[in-house]
């Protein structure tokens, strides 16, 4: 009798399992058809795709070229090249950012640079298409041409 009871109970369990799988059959599919849905916006704002430097409409950024990100980077990904610029107001020389060079090829996207930046000059964006044909193009210059430091910390 116990044998028959076992069979009946197990059949019920199997039916329960089949119910779960048929629910999955009719569920919305999760596959992303990548090149076709290129314009689709993914709602992952925290996703670390590309490192960018924020520029406002006057072509001004917030990087003071302090070099903390360069020191903190575990892979030597970031290289900051500075220049000395003569200030018109005070008449003294001041160190400003010339080139902010970032190597995607050696970046591990650990985000130590962005968390340590005192000015919040660099942030992450969600773009993830880094594939290019030439290795030298992996070195990116993050600051734009003729950009300057934001005056008074205002955006």
């Amino acid at each position: 009798m116990n044998h028959i009871k076992n069979i009946v109970v197990n059949i019920l369990y199997l039916i329960q399992g089949m119910y779960v799988t048929i629910l999955n059959f009719f569920r919305k599919k999760l596959t992303e058809q990548y090149p076709e849905n290129r314009g689709k916006v993914f709602p992952y704002s925290r996703f670390r795709g590309t490192l960018v430097m924020f520029h406002n409409w006057k072509n001004q950024h917030r990087c003071t070229a302090c070099g903390i990100c360069q020191l903190n980077c575990p892979n030597g990904t970031i290289k900051i090249i500075t220049k000395n610029e003569l200030s018109e107001i005070t008449g003294s020389c001041k160190r400003v950012l010339d080139k902010y060079i970032y190597d995607v090829g050696s970046c591990t996207f650990c985000s130590i640079c962005t968390t340590n930046c005192p000015q919040n000059a660099i942030t992450w964006e969600t773009g993830f298409e880094h594939a290019i044909f030439n290795r030298s193009r992996l070195y990116k210059k993050l600051n734009k041409e003729n950009s300057s430091l934001i005056k008074n910390g205002k955006i």
Binding site: L14, F25, K29, T31
Partner: protein, 355 residues
Amino acid sequence: MFHFSIVLNCVDKFLHVYFTDSCVLFIDFFLVGIFILVFYAVLALVLIYLERKICAFFQCRLGPMRVGPFGIFQPVADMIKILLKEVIKINGVDVFLFRLAIYLVIIASMCTFGAIPFDRGLHVIDFNMGVFYFLSISSIGVVGILLAGWASNNKYTIIGAMRSGAQLISYELSCGLSLMIIVILSGSLKLSVIVEQQFYVWNIFRGGIPTIIAFIVYLISGHAETNRGPFDLPEAESELTAGYHTEYSGIQFGFFYLAEYLNMFIVAAIASTLFLGGWMPLHIIGWDLFNEIMDHIPPIIWLFSKIFVCIFLALWVRWTMPRLRIDQLLKLEWKILMPISLVNILFMFFWMMYL
């Protein structure tokens, strides 16, 4: 209703005008052979596509989507790939048996394929012992699998083949016993007679509870005979690399693959022929207009939709259950399915006599 043998007779008469009798017989055989081979290959492609799509849907994926619209040419691409692959020569292999195994497997499934009635009069041969023919010829495939495992000179293949032998031979029993229910019910072994009898009520409803039990038992044991789903011990890829066809490559492996898919189709076809009315449309006693409308749908579509339902059930089970252990597998057969189908036959006798 349209009878397919009219067309066949027309072709036969047309050939008789130009050729002698023996020559006509030869041409007939040739045409039938070509028809079966082409149909077999095309059906395998369709089945591979269906299986990949359904499996993907069960796992919340989309399946093949790149080759052609919705990936419908994916199996064609796969087939071309497998035809172009090298057939590797392996040292220490019994070459004759190694090659013979493939043909045994594929001939077994192809012979079974020929006896399925696809339409009114559309079958290669209509034996007066068709059910026995199905059972006997489909068990030749076991010999092929055992030979493949033995001849490969590899421990994984021999373990896979031995498991397969134990599984197929034991599941043959409950498979045959559940088909005997239908033989008792219809009083005939001839497939065309069995199908004609289901004009008003399909066998699964005509025989009441015993046939429903037999149908379920047949689905389980037939599913086990195709070596797939929870019963895929012979080719359990996590334990034995690929079971009995580990050493096969290229088109040799392709034949095993083809036979596996077609066996799935054949089991579903037998289930739908014997239990679900074969190519017979759905008729309800008294509803004459409804019956008339149903007759206008071609019988071949009816058969294929029934087969599709059975295949879908098999895949559904496959993606629900985890793989069984070999002792669980044999316990399921000898302690559960066998007694149930034996008792079921007695039950069927009483059902036939008193109800």
